[in-house]
Amino acid sequence: MTSLKLLLIFFFVMFITIISRLFYLIVLHPTNDSDNYLKTTTIQPERGRIYDRSGLPLAVNTTSYLLYAQPKVITDRLSFIAKVDSVLHIGEATLEAALDPSKDWIAIQRGLTKEQKQKIINLKLEGTGFEDETKRYYPEGSLAAHLIGFVGKDKDGSDIGYFGVEGFYNRDLQGLPGVMKTERDFLGRPILIGTQEKIDAENGRSLYLTIDKSVQEIVKSRLKEGLDTYGANQGCAIIADPMTMQILALSCLPDFDVEQYYKFGEETFTNPAVSKVYEPGSIFKPLMMAAAIQEKKVKPDSIYDEQGPVTIGEYTIRTWDNKYEGPITMTRILEKSSNVGMVYIGQKLGNKEVYSYINKYGFGQLTDIDLQGETPGYLRDKSSWYPIDYATVTFGQGIAVTPIQILRAFASLVNGGKLMQPYIVSQVGEDDQKITIQPKVKSQVISPTTSELIKKMLVATVENGEVKWAKPQGYSFGGKTGTAQIPIAGHYDPYKTNASFIGFAPADKPRFIGLVVLNAPKTSQYGSETAAPLFFKIAKDLLVYYNIAPQ
C-alpha cells in the first residue's frame, strides 16, 4: 500500500510539473515554439520568356546569386573585405561601409555568376552565404534593346519590367508568387505530422513577338553603318508588314546594353520610334495628296501651274530648290516634292478637310502600339490654327509626329486604305492558355481605289524623283523622301534637319514597308541623299531574305 501511495504521489508530482511547465510556456511566456520549425517561404514564379516570331529566344531567365554576410559572425573584417574585393571588385571602402557590425545580415552583391560564387566559396570565408535568384539572360544581347526594355527593381526590391514589352506586359510576364508553409526538423527534413501547405507559383506568360530576329539584325547593323556613313547623331529604322501592321524590326540608335542597363542614362531607355516627336517634312505630302484624291478634289493627272513662290499672309513658300516647272501633274508634284504644289492641294482640299484628315490618319492620338512610353505627338487645337499652318502642314512642317504614327498612316496608303493598330506581340502565353493577337483595323481612311492610285504615284516618285538611287532592278518600289528642319527655340535651325525616307516593296503587293529617320546627318541634310540610300540597302537585304523574285 505504501509503495502504491508513493507511486501515486510520484505521478501526481510529475503531472503538476508538466501542467506548471505548460502554464509557463503557454501563458507566462507565450513564445510560439512552432516558429522554430515552421518555415514559410515565398515561391518565386519564373518570369515569362520573350521569343521572336519564329520562337527563337530574345530574353530568358538564368540563375544568379545574392552574396550575403553576417557581420556579427565575422572576426577578421580586414581580411574578409580584402578577399571579397579581390573577387567582386566593388571597392574596399564600399564593403567596409556595408559591413555594419550591429546587423545580423546584410546583402553584399546581387547578380553573381556561378563562377563568382565558386570563387567566393573557395575563399572559405566565415559568415557568408548565398541565396538563389533569377535574372534575365539575353542570347542576342542588345539586338532589340528598345523593343524588349529591361527588368529592374521596384521600391520593394521586387523585379519589375521597364520600357518596351517588359514594361508594357509586366503584369503578364511577372506571374504570381506561391507560398510554402512547412514544418521541418533541425536537419531540415519535413515533419510529416506537422503543417505542410503549398500553393504553387503561377509562372509568367511568355511573349511571342512579331519581330523577326534576322530582319532585326539586318536593320540594326545597316542603321549603325548608316549613322557612321552619314554622320547622324541619332536614327531609327522600322520595318513592318503594311497589311497587318505587325512590326518586323525596329531599331533606334544609340541604344543601351540590356545586361548593364544601369550604366546608361534614362534618355537612352526611351524608344524614339514611339516616344520622340519630330516634324515629318515631305513624307507627309502623299497623305494630303491621297486625301485630296479621296475627296475628288484632284486626280493624279490633274494639272497645277507651278509658276513661282506662293505667299500666305506675311510668309512666302518656295520649292526646296526654288525652281518652278509651270504646268505639272499631281504625280509630278510628288515626284519633285513641290511645296507650292502641296499648298495648292491644301487649298483645293480646304482647311476643314485638311484638319479632318490629319485626325483620320491618327496624328495627335496614340497608335496603341504595345510598347511602354508611347506619346500621342502634338496636334494643336483647330482654334489655334492660322492660314499659314494649313499651308505648311501639307508639306509636313508645323506638326509633330512620332515615327510609328507616320509609318502607320503611310501604311494605310498602300494597304487599301485601312488605318491599322501597330503591334509587337503576336501571342501571349503558350499551349492551351495562349492568346493570339489579331491585326486590328481602326478605321478606313481612304478607299481601295484611292490607295491603288496613290501607290502608283509613289512608284513614279521613286522612279522619276530628283535623285536616282542604287535600288535593285527588277523590283518596283514606292516611297517618298522627307527633309524637315529642326525647330529650336521658336525658329528653325538653319543647318540641322531630320532626313527621312519611307518606302515599300514590291509595289503591287507590298511585303514590307520601311521608315528610316536620321537626325542631323552631316554629309548631306537631305533625306534623298542619306535616309533613302540607307532604306534601299536594307530593302536589298530584305528582298534576299524573303526570297522575293524580281517582277
Binding site: L56, V60, P139, E140, K213, P472
Partner: protein
Amino acid sequence: MKTKFNAIAATVFLTLLFVNMYTFISSIRLSDDINTFEQQTAIYKLKNQDLEEKIYKVDSLQHARETATSMNFTENTTPLYMNGPNYALKP
C-alpha cells in the same frame, strides 16, 4: 480474469508501441526521401537552366558573328543583283 486482461492490455500496448515506432521510422525515411528529392530537383533545375543557356548562346546570331570573326570570316557575302546584267552577257 485479471491475468487475462493484463496480458491483452500488454499485447495491445506493445503492438501500439511497435506500430508507433514503425510509423515514426517510416516518416523519418519518407522525410529523408522528400528532402533528397527536393535537393535533386533544385540541382537538376540549375543544370537544366545552364544547359538551356548554353544552347541559346550557341544558337544565337551573336555567337555566330563572334565565331565568324574568330575564324576570319569577316567579309559579308555580296549577293549579285540583276542591276549588273553585264556579268551574264560576258562570254
